[in-house]
């Protein structure tokens, strides 16, 4: 059966539920109006939540991007030291981060859609609250004057359908916000605990340690080679005391 007809029936049922509490058409008008104004407040609050969720995603994306850039640099550095395994490790961690970043990007798009839908809903509700305020007073007057029950019924079902829409939009936004907050907390936790390893900064950075160690090692090798060549060079008495020290001091003096 048609999805769009079933959706329509569901919205109608939701709308009727709201109005079950009203005892007569005039109460219905007031109740609809109150509910509508209430919905508008809720939509505004949800908009604030969506903005917060969006900022948080953006911040996390920045942090992850910085880590990804750092890993890229480390991979280059490792390669220049001739350590292909380490470069590979850095790049593979970077790939892990890229996945996270992509997922954050998707969420960011979703949050923007939510934002747009809530903004539309708020604008529409505001305009309807204003239009309905006038209309309900006119209808109330005509109801007491004559039998205008049908037109009240019509106005009320129209307005309650849009309340049901606002309600569904709110529910959906709140679900999305909750999902997003849960995922954001998970990413924060990963960043905090370093479970997305040292790649995510904080704590020790084992890739950096290996790079530093390699660079220290090559410095030591250079110094060793320098010493060896000094000792091997003619003119230096063999067995003379500290070759490095004596070499340095002699070299330093004019």
């Amino acid at each position: 059966m048609s999805v769009m007809k079933r959706m329509s029936a569901i919205m109608q049922a939701k709308a009727n539920k709201v109005l079950d509490k009203a005892e007569n058409p005039v109460d219905m008008l007031d109740l609809s109006y109150e509910k509508q104004a209430e919905n508008l407040q809720k939509v505004r609050r949800a908009m604030a939540d969506v903005t917060t969720a969006k900022k948080r995603l953006e911040l996390q994306a920045q942090q992850l991007q910085a880590q990804a850039d750092k890993l890229q640099d480390q991979a280059k550095q490792a390669l220049s030291q001739g350590n292909e395994d380490l470069a590979r490790e850095a790049l593979s961690r970077r790939a892990g981060l890229a996945e996270q970043l992509q997922s954050l990007g998707t969420q960011h798009q979703q949050v923007e859609t939510q934002q747009q839908q809530l903004e539309n809903t708020a604008t529409r509700l505001q305009a309807q609250v204003d239009a309905f305020r006038t209309k309900k007073e006119t209808l109330k007057a005509s109801y007491t004057a004559s039998q205008a029950q049908a037109s009240i019924g019509e106005a009320v079902s129209g307005i309650s359908e849009s309340m049901a829409d606002a309600g569904a939009t709110l529910d959906r936004a709140q679900d999305k916000i909750a999902q997003m907050q849960a995922r954001a907390s998970a990413v924060d936790e990963l960043i905090d605990t370093g479970a997305l390893p040292d790649a995510l900064g904080g704590g020790g950075d084992d890739i950096q340690r290996q790079l530093d160690a390699a660079s220290n090692q090559s410095q030591v090798d250079d110094e060793l080679a320098a010493l060896k060549s000094q000792m091997a060079s003619p003119g230096l008495p063999s067995g003379s005391t500290p070759p490095a020290g004596s070499g340095d001091t002699e070299g330093a003096k004019p």
Partner: protein, 87 residues
């Protein structure tokens, strides 16, 4: 005919456009049955595009109700299936 897109608003859609919309509605039904997320997303985007294109927005003080209700733009198959299961 009045069609509501949830989270967006109501449109007056010409009757002549109904066959196109109904056909896309059938695709939605089918996609839900086959649990085909991609087909669902495609048909939903198409039907929303069609309504926006051929329909006219209703004024806010127009209190008429809609005959058809289209899920929120970007809704997933699972979300809509859950909503339909509620009713």
């Amino acid at each position: 005919m009045i069609v509501r897109i949830l989270g967006e608003g109501r449109y007056q859609v010409p009757e002549a456009d109904l066959p196109v919309i109904e056909q896309l509605d059938d695709v939605l039904v089918d996609a839900i049955e086959r649990e085909d997320d991609a087909a669902f997303a495609g048909a939903l985007a198409d039907v929303i595009g069609e309504i926006r294109h051929s329909g006219t927005r209703l004024d806010h003080d127009d209190m008429r109700t809609s005959e058809l209700v289209v899920p929120h733009e970007g809704s997933t198959r699972a979300e809509v299936a859950a909503l339909l299961a509620e009713g």
